[in-house]
Symmetry: C2
Subunit: 209 residues, 2 copies
Amino acid sequence: MKLYDCAAASSPRRVRIFAAEKNIALEKIAVDLASGEQLGADFREINPDCVVPVLELDDGTRICEVFAICQYLEEFKPQPVLMGRTPVERATISMWNAKIDQQGFFATADAYRNSVKWLKNHALPGPHEFDQIPELAERGRKRVGLFHEMLNRRLEGREFVAANVYSIADISAMVVIDFAATIKIGLPDDAVDLGRWYEQVSSRSSSGA
Amino acid sequence: MKLYDCAAASSPRRVRIFAAEKNIALEKIAVDLASGEQLGADFREINPDCVVPVLELDDGTRICEVFAICQYLEEFKPQPVLMGRTPVERATISMWNAKIDQQGFFATADAYRNSVKWLKNHALPGPHEFDQIPELAERGRKRVGLFHEMLNRRLEGREFVAANVYSIADISAMVVIDFAATIKIGLPDDAVDLGRWYEQVSSRSSSGA
């Protein structure tokens, strides 16, 4: 299997960590987002949405979107289980992953994409041009702060975000926190439980994938 | 099982249709979003994110987020299959559902929530107040148009959005189209394939759920 990837980008990093936890080897094909390779004709053939990651199976089938790719990898190699062992656990992990996407990832992406100079006309990923909206960057930063507070409350007395085992929700939350750090939004000093959890999940060898 | 619901809202409608297709009976508990019931202390105990739908199992476990709820219902009653019959089909349906959320649902929600008068200080769902951003409403409307064009291209020569059977992706896309119609964004006249598909999925009895 091949993974269309970009070492610096958060979304493919989620897949890389997920695969590393399962010890699944993926052939990585680097897409140079900084130079706009994802907008060129060749990559549009791979993914008309012009984003990574894309998982390409040996028969040529392509799967986009982080959660969908991880679902496939979970079925391809079930152990260690990262998306739940029972129906309730699977739904709970999926729920937390969705909360992290909406309250964390999209908020961070709003803050990032509407403020950095190199995305001036590309405030949204994809083939269409959209101007940056400064108020949206500001709103995003505020929301990231609320996201950190919410996660800190959730982690009080808990080892992991969604279940009593490490899961995709821990991967997603860790990657979002690192994404926010690139625009200088760090964890609040008083978020003790979040800080403890972050240290623990970041120390796993997969986090460097 | 109970469903915390709101008849007028798009997200719980997705769950209602999904359950109707599977003939799963859910006890519905109406939450009056228009009067702000979701922001009150009682509902915050149910879901601190102050949104519906919430599925409550007989043992009291609560599951939020549309996709997570549907995952649970799919395992609770597998037939008819709405989330895929094979690993590749499951991943493909999940991918399309995510695309529909991002390119359709969130775009429509941006257009809606940043323009209607009754959400003046609640441009985002949830307990926190956020001012409306008019540019975001405008961007949302533009994106909904692009979403319709994208779906029309996808449906050329296809009966259903994601697989060769009806799936959760068809439910999501139909509900998003109806949501956009509430702010007077209709389907383009020349979107023939989208129009044909829309007529077909809307004629299913579940669409009235």
